[in-house]
Symmetry: C2
Subunit: 234 residues, 2 copies
């Protein structure tokens, strides 16, 4: 994984790739969260297979790619007309493919400027929340994370209580989107040895290139109001 899909930590892909290359180990890197958000070099970083996902980088939903250095070890799981050199049969999603290509091109041009602005908004939100919620915990590696990721916990306040109060006005999640509706605690936070009262309060906030300062301020006041309301009930 090039960057974690919950807490946004950026992993040392280049170092991992160098080790893999040294020992001739095929290296599959899931860069869904990272591509277009943080520098990544398929050519030079010893990555054998790179997985990317369209909607994470402003391309349409439902398109992704596996970038392959050499395909000799790849086996198809979808058979049929023999498309894509037999590796994945089926009529191609042409609008999605064009959208993904265009999005990648735009990310390369805009990434640096966009991500700087996104990090500024993320830091503003973090500061606003920290100023109002004294025991706020920010999860993950603070020096090495995706600009658009803010992963917080408010100890002893279940995330479900906060989400129930703001869900009509804010799209916010407790963890990976894949796990929506799943009540089990995040395996990522458990692996980080975070205590249970903090895991139960975990909220993942995503900030993107179309997020505005006004939305950051509204988000902050929604969360703060919800927390204050819950505190009064406890």
């Amino acid at each position: 994984m090039a960057a974690n899909n919950e807490v946004g930590t950026i992993y040392p892909v280049q170092k991992i790739g160098a080790i893999a290359q040294k020992y001739n180990i095929p290296f599959l890197c899931d860069a869904s969260q990272a591509v277009g958000k943080t520098p990544l070099n398929f050519q030079d970083w010893g990555i054998t297979y790179l997985a990317i996902s369209g909607h994470k980088l402003y391309a349409p939903k439902g398109i992704g790619a596996l970038v392959v250095r050499k395909s000799k070890h790849l086996q198809p799981i979808i058979y049929g007309g023999g498309h894509q050199q037999g590796l994945r049969s089926g009529t191609l999603n042409v609008p999605g493919i064009v959208g993904l290509g265009e999005a990648c091109k735009l990310r390369q041009l805009e990434m640096e400027t966009d991500e700087t602005a996104i990090a500024t908004l993320r830091d503003q939100l973090q500061n606003l929340l920290q100023a109002a919620i004294s025991d706020l915990v920010v999860n993950g590696d603070l020096n090495n994370r995706l600009s658009g990721n803010l992963h917080i916990s408010i100890p002893d306040i279940p995330n479900s209580a906060i989400i129930a109060r703001i869900r009509n006005q804010l799209a916010i999640s407790t963890g990976a989107a894949c796990s929506s509706g799943v009540v089990a605690p995040s395996h990522v936070l458990q692996a980080m040895n975070i205590s249970e009262n903090i895991i139960e309060g975990a909220l993942r906030i995503g900030i993107g290139k179309f997020t505005t300062k006004a939305e950051i301020e509204k988000t902050s006041s929604l969360i703060i109001s919800a927390v204050n309301e819950i505190h009064q009930l406890l």
Copy 2:
């Protein structure tokens, strides 16, 4: 298969479904060629699984559906986030899905009128070709075929010789699109016991709702000129 993807023959799906239902046999029907072109009733025809393909009915490329009566026998081949009740993980192709739904709705409204007009154009093309090419063979079941399908052979004239002469002006194929570039003779025509000199001349022409009468006339004259040119060389 509800309709053949080469010669356009419409199969008796309702009768097959009735037999399957009587003996409690799961019935998977590939209706990619048929949906939106000829009447089909998933509910009443004893079909357990119905496969449809978007771009065959004017939806975007790269979207399809498996309509499932009951999913208890289905096993996933793609694992991950557990989307679609665990049957096919992965972020959904939302624009494709919306496009497929809209296209299905439109086909239901427009199918009858469109297919009547398409059959008229197809018959015009067939008549023009038959009038000029005395030994023209029309393959498939002439009474029971898709309106938009015209599958012809000119005996002893290889289809590649005709295609080479018209490919810059007309999109035309020798058989299934999946087999583009494959030189092997069509398994469909072989199974129909068609003689080799007719199989080698097979050309599949697709006519759709956006085909015009002018295009039909141009198609006919392109093919006729190519045939005459080849005859003079032989």
